[in-house]
Symmetry: C2
Subunit: 417 residues, 2 copies
Amino acid sequence: MYAEIITIGDELLIGQTINSNAAWMGQELNKIGIDVYQVSTISDDKNHIVDALKDALKRTELVLITGGLGPTRDDITKYTLAEYFNSPLVRNENVYTQVEKMLKKRSIPMNDLNRKQAEVPEKARIFINYAGTAPAMWFELEGKVVIAMPGVPYEMKELMTKQIFPSISQHFKTPVIIHRTILTYGTFEAKLAEILTDFEEQLPSEIKLAYLPTEGVIKLRLSGRGAREEKIVKMIDGEIEKLYKIIPGYIFGEQDDSLEKIIGVLLKKKGETLSTAESCTGGLIAHRITAVPGSSDYFIGSVIAYSNLIKEKHLGVDPGSIDEFGAVSRQVVEQMAQGVRERFSAGYSIATSGIAGPAGGTAEKPVGTVWIAVADKKGIYSRKYTFGNNRLRNIRRSTLAGLNLLRQYIKGEMDHI
Amino acid sequence: MYAEIITIGDELLIGQTINSNAAWMGQELNKIGIDVYQVSTISDDKNHIVDALKDALKRTELVLITGGLGPTRDDITKYTLAEYFNSPLVRNENVYTQVEKMLKKRSIPMNDLNRKQAEVPEKARIFINYAGTAPAMWFELEGKVVIAMPGVPYEMKELMTKQIFPSISQHFKTPVIIHRTILTYGTFEAKLAEILTDFEEQLPSEIKLAYLPTEGVIKLRLSGRGAREEKIVKMIDGEIEKLYKIIPGYIFGEQDDSLEKIIGVLLKKKGETLSTAESCTGGLIAHRITAVPGSSDYFIGSVIAYSNLIKEKHLGVDPGSIDEFGAVSRQVVEQMAQGVRERFSAGYSIATSGIAGPAGGTAEKPVGTVWIAVADKKGIYSRKYTFGNNRLRNIRRSTLAGLNLLRQYIKGEMDHI
């Protein structure tokens, strides 16, 4: 089954806002078995809205509209749809109560503009927007469905997830679709696809595998489609079990996990603590670790040692090692890791030293050369990486590589490194 | 004058890729005086491409198409357009040379698929793609122009900036439009608009002011349109001068500046160095500072002191101060700033201590309470901020506030804080 998306807003056309709503809706519609045929981005203009809607309804039986439902004069989507569906506006008491509640929460007085938010087209089915004031509206005409939602991303997402997707699934009797996502790190999409060729071929026809590459992390999404939920769940569970056997060294988590969240879980389970000694990553490893709520339970702190003097004075790196091997070397990065672990009395530590660029490269150690070490009281492990030419990308890739190395070291999975 | 954009690609419809190309094109077209009427995102399907193109040509005289120009089987844009414009494919030697060059650079052997990249519609004007293999194509029909470009963002941007925008300006005789962007930090859009009411009213009709809010930073873009470039430049310069007089405390840079770049420029000019002592920002200030190329010239390093013990042992904070005033206090954050400056022998320092959340808040110091201090050898300045409930947003807002405070302190602009 196909749907179309119409996103309304001048800010999208002038490029002030990137259309992330359409991407999110496309992803989520796929999950309930609906393909997006076209996305049309148009201006807050009555004739334009009507033309785009007419065109979309010629092509599909479900049209999702976002934007133009605010209280200001340029928001005309509701009035345009009321006229198009020949459905006069009437006051809806449930919406009014919600508008009152939101205004009170934001300490904004009720006025005529806000009061109008509670007027909705008579024939529309109304979904209360618990995160804002503009409700979503569901219109039906000649077997086709048109749904209008506010354009504020978190309001739209909340409405769709909790109310609109279930209603669409019920109305169009879409099949049951179950998804599970496996997160991998450490290889490229093409390589992974090669390794998983046989796995993909043996998949039952109900199960599909999708590769979703992001920066460094490749997500593998298994989707199962069928009539009976329990059966699909069981089939997917079985396939996931196989994946864990084929690529154990690449899988680090599922669904919404991240390397730093997993590290936190592992450290908490062990009752251990962590510190970092960062040169080329400049604090990004510490930032990612501390972005996780509750990280103060296991994260003690870091020394960011950009200058060699700090490496010597505050991490105890031997000046002779820097002279002999250079700051970007196994010897120095291991001393950094040991130094911060001992001085900060931490159970685990990670250290980075590399040439992020654009300057600082040599023939022997070009831009992109990075050493990373992880240590605990029992030992130390270090490894050299070779990244590219872009400074920011080198910093990010070093951070991800470091987080993954640390995760593997804490888990004791050093045979996979 | 209006244009339409058609972005082709299944990855956009399933939401795997966010349509950032359309936003960039919208922004850049505005700069040469062209408004985008509609953006249509469609699949790699011949009939769909033809339908969308016909619809767009009914509405506008310029259609920009991106995507579907790669060498693989699902890339059908070129073949579809060749048929639509009744223009058989012929080999273009300049394109062939470029394809050869790119393949050699990437160590890929020439094959039939790559060779086909050099075949282009006979009637099309060709723009060589110096960043890739697929050239851009310019078609004309009944006074209207259709331009097809590759969808890879940096290839598209390079082609548009260097070759296509100049050709569009020349073909459609668009007016001269000059832009200058002023970057502000420290207030909200509504507040800025209020302060600038009189300024906006006195602007000559040739000059328009646009507010472009991003996270924390509000960009003010002045655009001037007219027949004579020198006259417009002079008018904009005059208006910018006025802005610097009206809101000197908010402006921190122009065009592509960032707070961390400006800090680097200021430190280099003074021959000074910097260190950070971060608690709630967890290394994000250091990361932003070190993301700037050449930052190793002035950035020495940091102590990220998440635990109180590190604040005491490695920054010299008095345990009595932590007991009496708490870690989130003026007393402690000032000692952190002094401590890192002295121990790291830095000219300047910045320190942060706050409650990022979700846990750790009290009635007296709720989640979002943050103290920031900046110091140099002459003195110290500290300030309390009150942000919100979201952990990651609190970390980011503290980082921006800290960078701005540091910038003002280095500049000696403390009367604006």
